[in-house]
C-alpha cells in the first residue's frame, strides 16, 4: 500500500505540473488547469460561509470532503502536492524521527486555531484562509519560484550549449524544441519573490524539526479534514503477534500512533500513508488494514480554553486588520485583472494562488503578486504592473483560470470593453510635450478599434526659433480600457510618459 501511495503521489504531482504548464496561451479548457486548485477542501467551506451557496465547480473538493468522513485524511497523504513535496524532502534530507520530535506534539492545536480563527474572520467577511491553503501555497511556490528558476537554469544551460563550436546546431535544435514544447514563454521576473521565498523556506525548513511539520501542526486543511474523519472505518488493525518494537510509532509521518499504545491510531492525525505496515518487521507482520464499522472517537488536540483564546484572537485581528492606514494615493496603482469582483468581494474570494499571474506570464505579463504596502490583506493578490507588461487585448485567460471566480470568466468581447483603469499622460516626461519631438509609440500600440489615444498636430516653436509640426497625444477617457500597453511600450528609460491609474475601472458582480 505504501508503494502504491508513493506512485499515486508522484503521478498526481506530475499532473499538477502538467496542468501548470498547460496554463498558457493557447489555453484549451478540456482539462481546465485550475482543476487541481479546486481540490482544496477549504474552498467549498469558505465559499459557503461567504455566499451561503455551494457551487458545483468545487466538485473535486466536495468528493474529497465526502470521502474523508469515511476514509479519513487520505487527501493529505495521497493527493496534496505540498504534502508530496514535503515527503520528497524527507527522503532527500535527514529528518528527525518521532523520538526526537515528540516535544512538538503539544503544538497540534495551532492548526485548529488557524482553522477556527479563519472561520471567525470569514463570518465577519475577512477571508485569510487562502494564505494557508496548501494547494494555493504550492501553486504560489510553483508560479513565483519553481518555474522561473527552472526557466532560468534550463534556458541558460541550453543557450550555453549553442556557444560550443561543435554542438552549435544540435544545441539550437534542442533549445527550439524545448522552448516550443515545454517553456514557450520568456523568463518571468516577478515582484515579491522574497516574501514567497520566505514562506517556502519556512514550510520546508520546518522539516528539520519534524516530518511533515506543516501538516501536523499548522495546516488548516489538515485540521478541517481531521475533524471530519471521526467516522472513518478503514482502519489499522494491530494483531496479537505485535512485539511492540515501536518502529511504526517512531517512523509515523504524522506521529499519529500514541506513544506507549501502538495499537491505537489517532484518527484526526492519521493521513493513511500506510508507512506503519511497511515499517512493521517482517517476522512480526502484525499490522493489517481493514474496513471495520466500529466507530470510536479520537479527541482532537484542541480544548475549550484554546478555542476561546482563538476566538478572541480572531476577533482582535478582525479589528487590527480593519484599522490599518488606507493609502489613498498609492492605491491608484492597485490595478486588478479585468473581470475582478468589486474590491471587498474580490479580497474575500481570492485565495492568493497566483494562477492568474502564471497564465498572464505567458501573455501580456502584467500581473504580479502584490506586496503589503497598501494593506496586509492585499499580500499576494494579483496586481497589474504596466511598466513591465500589459493586458493583452485578445486575452481573457486570467478569468478562465481563476479557481474561485474572484476574476470572472468574461467572454473576450466583454473583457475588451471592461476597463481595468485609465491612462494619463505625464506632460513633464512625455517626449512630444517635453522635447517637441514626434514619438507616439503609445498611439501606435493602442489596441481599441477606435483608438483611445489620439493626437493633435500643433506647431511648436523650438528654442532656436524654428518652427515644427509635432504630434501631441491625449487620452479619450470613454475609449480607454486601461490595458497599459502604452505605459509598457513608452520608450523613456525609467519613469513613463504615460501611466495607468485605477480610476475608471469597472468591476462586475457577475457575468450576466
Amino acid at each position: 500500500m505504501a508503494r502504491t501511495r508513493r506512485i499515486v503521489q508522484l503521478i498526481l504531482l506530475f499532473s499538477f505540473f502538467y496542468l501548470f504548464l498547460r496554463a498558457r496561451y493557447p489555453y484549451e479548457t478540456i482539462i481546465s488547469s485550475d482543476l487541481y486548485l479546486r481540490f482544496s477542501p477549504l474552498a467549498p467551506l469558505f465559499y459557503f460561509i461567504d455566499s451561503l451557496e455551494l457551487p458545483l465547480f468545487f466538485w473535486p473538493a466536495l468528493i474529497i470532503l465526502f470521502a474523508t468522513i469515511f476514509l479519513g485524511r487520505f487527501f493529505c497523504g495521497w493527493i496534496c502536492p505540498l504534502g508530496t513535496s514535503l515527503d520528497i524532502i524527507d527522503r532527500v534530507f535527514k529528518v528527525p524521527s518521532n523520538k526526537i520530535s515528540e516535544k512538538w506534539v503539544k503544538l497540534r492545536w495551532i492548526k485548529f486555531a488557524i482553522f477556527f480563527s479563519a472561520i471567525i474572520l470569514a463570518i465577519f467577511s475577512v477571508h485569510i484562509w487562502g494564505y494557508f491553503d496548501p494547494l494555493a501555497i504550492f501553486m504560489r511556490f510553483t508560479t513565483i519560484i519553481f518555474y522561473p528558476l527552472a526557466t532560468f537554469f534550463l534556458e541558460g544551460l541550453l543557450i550555453l550549449g549553442t556557444k560550443l563550436p561543435f554542438l552549435e546546431s544540435i544545441s539550437y535544435t534542442i533549445f527550439e524544441s524545448f522552448k516550443n514544447i515545454i517553456m514557450p514563454e520568456s523568463q518571468s521576473y516577478f515582484l515579491g519573490v522574497m516574501g514567497i521565498l520566505a514562506l517556502l523556506l519556512f514550510i520546508f525548513g520546518l522539516e528539520k524539526l519534524s516530518k511533515r511539520f506543516w501538516c501536523r501542526y499548522l495546516c488548516p486543511a489538515g485540521a478541517w479534514l481531521g475533524l471530519l474523519s471521526q467516522f472513518r472505518f478503514y482502519e489499522r488493525i494491530v494483531g496479537d503477534s505485535c512485539p511492540i518494537c515501536n518502529k511504526c510509532q517512531i517512523e509515523c509521518k504524522m506521529n499519529a500512533i500514541p506513544r506507549g499504545n501502538v495499537k491505537e491510531t489517532h484518527k484526526v492525525e492519521c493521513i493513511e500513508c500506510f508507512n506503519c505496515g511497511e515499517k512493521c518487521p517482517p517476522n512480526a507482520k502484525s499490522i493489517t488494514y481493514r474496513f471495520r464499522w466500529k466507530p470510536y472517537h479520537s479527541k482532537p488536540d484542541y480544548n475549550r480554553r484554546q478555542f476561546l483564546g482563538t476566538s478572541l484572537a480572531g476577533i482582535a485581528s478582525l479589528g487590527l486588520l480593519s484599522i490599518g492606514y488606507r493609502h489613498k494615493t498609492s492605491s491608484y496603482q492597485l490595478i486588478r485583472p479585468p473581470g475582478s469582483l468589486p474590491e471587498e468581494e474580490f479580497l474575500d474570494r481570492c485565495i492568493r494562488c497566483l494562477a492568474c499571474v502564471r497564465i498572464c506570464a505567458s501573455n501580456g505579463k502584467c500581473l504580479h503578486p502584490a506586496g503589503v504596502e497598501r494593506g496586509i490583506l492585499e499580500l499576494w493578490t494579483p496586481v497589474a504592473v504596466m511598466r513591465e507588461g500589459y493586458c493583452e487585448y485578445n486575452c481573457n485567460l486570467c478569468g478562465q483560470i481563476c479557481p474561485t471566480d474572484a476574476i470572472l470568466p468574461l467572454s473576450l468581447e466583454i473583457k475588451q470593453k471592461t476597463p481595468m483603469g485609465l491612462a494619463y499622460f505625464d506632460k513633464d516626461l512625455c517626449i512630444p510635450f517635453e522635447r517637441h519631438e514626434d514619438c507616439i509609440v503609445c498611439e501606435e500600440h493602442c489596441p481599441t478599434p477606435d483608438k483611445a489615444i489620439k493626437f493633435d498636430v500643433k506647431e511648436a516653436i523650438l528654442p532656436d526659433g524654428n518652427r515644427r509640426f509635432v504630434k501631441y497625444p491625449y487620452v479619450v477617457r470613454e475609449l480607454c480600457i486601461g490595458c497599459g500597453i502604452c505605459e509598457e511600450k513608452c520608450p523613456l528609460p525609467n519613469l513613463p510618459g504615460v501611466f495607468i491609474t485605477r480610476e475608471n475601472e469597472k468591476r462586475l458582480e457577475s457575468i450576466a
Partner: protein
C-alpha cells in the same frame, strides 16, 4: 530555369543585343519593379514573379533564405495589420522549389509573440510548406556596426537575418500614424533589437541609419488588403481597403516609393522614404523607374 536554359537564353540575348548594337537591352529584359493588380493573392504573386523570370533569379540552390513578413500584431488577416499568410506560404514554396536549403521566418512582434504568430495565421500557413517559423530569441541579437550611420553607429540586429544568404522582405502596406506609412523600410524594424521605441524619435534619420546596412534581396509589398487609417496596429475593419495589389522589386526604396500611390501620398510627405532617396539607398532612379504594370482583372 535550368542553368543550361539560362546560358542558352543569355547567349541568344547577348548575340541579339550585339547585333542590334544595344547591349543594355540585355538588362532591360527584367524590369526594375512590378505592379500587379486586380487578382487574388496567389495569382498576383505568380504574375509578378513571372515577370522577373521566377524566384530562381533571386534564390540559388542551397541558399539559406530568410523571409521577413510583418507578424507584428495579434490581429487576424482580415484586419490587415500583418502580411497575408497565403502570400508568405507561396513564397516559401517557391523558395524551396528554387532549391533553397532552408527558409526561416521570424519577426520581433509588438504583442505577445505566440499570439501574433498564431492569429496572423502565418505560422500555420508557412509551416505547411516546410518553413521554419521561429520565435525571436533575445540572445540572438548581435550589436551590428553602422559605419554610415548619422545618429546611430551601432544597433542590435537579429543574427539569423545577418547570416542569411538571401532575404525576402514581405511587408504589408499600412498607414502609420508616426511615419505616415509602414512599408519595406519600416518592416525591417522587425529584425532590430534593443529599445525600438526610441527609434521613433528622429525616426527619419535612425531608420535610414540602420536600414542602409541591412537592405534585403527582394521586397514584395502585400497590398491585397491595406490599412488606410489607425495604423500600424489597426483593429477596425472599416479602416481596411481591399486593393488586390502586389508590388515587387529588388530595391526596397523603389518598392516603397511606388506603394505611396496606394495612399495618394507624395514622397515629400513621407520623410523617411524621401531621406532614403536622398541618401541613395535606392538601387534605381525612382523618377525614371522602369515599372511593369499588370492588371489581372
Amino acid at each position: 530555369m535550368q542553368r543550361r536554359d539560362f546560358m542558352k537564353a543569355s547567349l541568344i540575348l547577348g548575340t541579339g543585343s550585339l547585333i542590334t548594337g544595344n547591349p543594355l537591352s540585355l538588362f532591360s529584359a527584367q524590369p526594375q519593379a512590378v505592379w500587379v493588380s486586380g487578382g487574388e493573392p496567389l495569382p498576383l504573386l505568380q504574375a509578378a514573379m513571372g515577370v522577373f523570370g521566377g524566384i530562381q533569379n533571386f534564390i540559388s540552390k542551397g541558399d539559406q533564405v530568410v523571409i521577413k513578413p510583418n507578424i507584428g500584431w495579434d490581429r487576424k488577416p482580415e484586419q490587415a495589420a500583418n502580411t497575408n499568410p497565403e502570400l508568405v506560404a507561396e513564397v516559401v514554396k517557391m523558395c524551396y522549389e528554387a532549391g533553397a536549403a532552408k527558409v526561416r521566418i521570424f519577426d520581433r512582434t509588438c504583442n505577445n509573440p505566440q499570439r501574433c504568430y498564431a492569429n496572423s495565421q502565418i505560422e500555420s500557413f508557412a509551416k505547411n510548406y516546410g518553413a521554419e517559423v521561429e520565435q525571436i530569441r533575445d540572445f540572438k541579437f548581435k550589436d551590428y556596426s553602422l559605419p554610415e550611420g548619422e545618429l546611430l553607429k551601432e544597433w542590435p540586429i537579429y543574427k539569423d537575418y545577418l547570416e542569411a544568404d538571401k532575404i525576402i522582405n514581405m511587408p504589408i502596406a499600412k498607414h502609420h500614424s508616426m511615419s505616415r506609412v509602414s512599408l519595406g523600410l519600416k518592416n525591417l524594424m522587425g529584425v532590430m533589437g534593443g529599445n525600438r521605441g526610441s527609434i521613433h524619435n528622429n525616426f527619419t534619420q535612425k531608420i535610414n541609419d540602420i536600414c542602409a546596412h541591412i537592405l534585403p534581396t527582394l521586397t514584395i509589398i502585400d497590398a491585397y488588403r491595406i490599412l488606410l487609417r489607425n495604423g500600424p496596429s489597426g483593429g477596425n475593419i472599416n479602416d481596411v481597403s481591399v486593393e488586390k495589389t502586389l508590388i515587387m522589386s529588388p530595391c526596397t526604396v523603389s518598392a516603397d516609393f511606388m506603394a505611396l500611390n496606394l495612399f495618394d501620398l507624395k514622397v515629400s510627405e513621407v520623410p523617411h522614404i524621401q531621406e532614403a532617396i536622398q541618401r541613395g539607398l535606392n538601387k534605381f532612379d525612382v523618377d525614371k523607374l522602369d515599372v511593369k504594370k499588370i492588371d489581372l482583372s
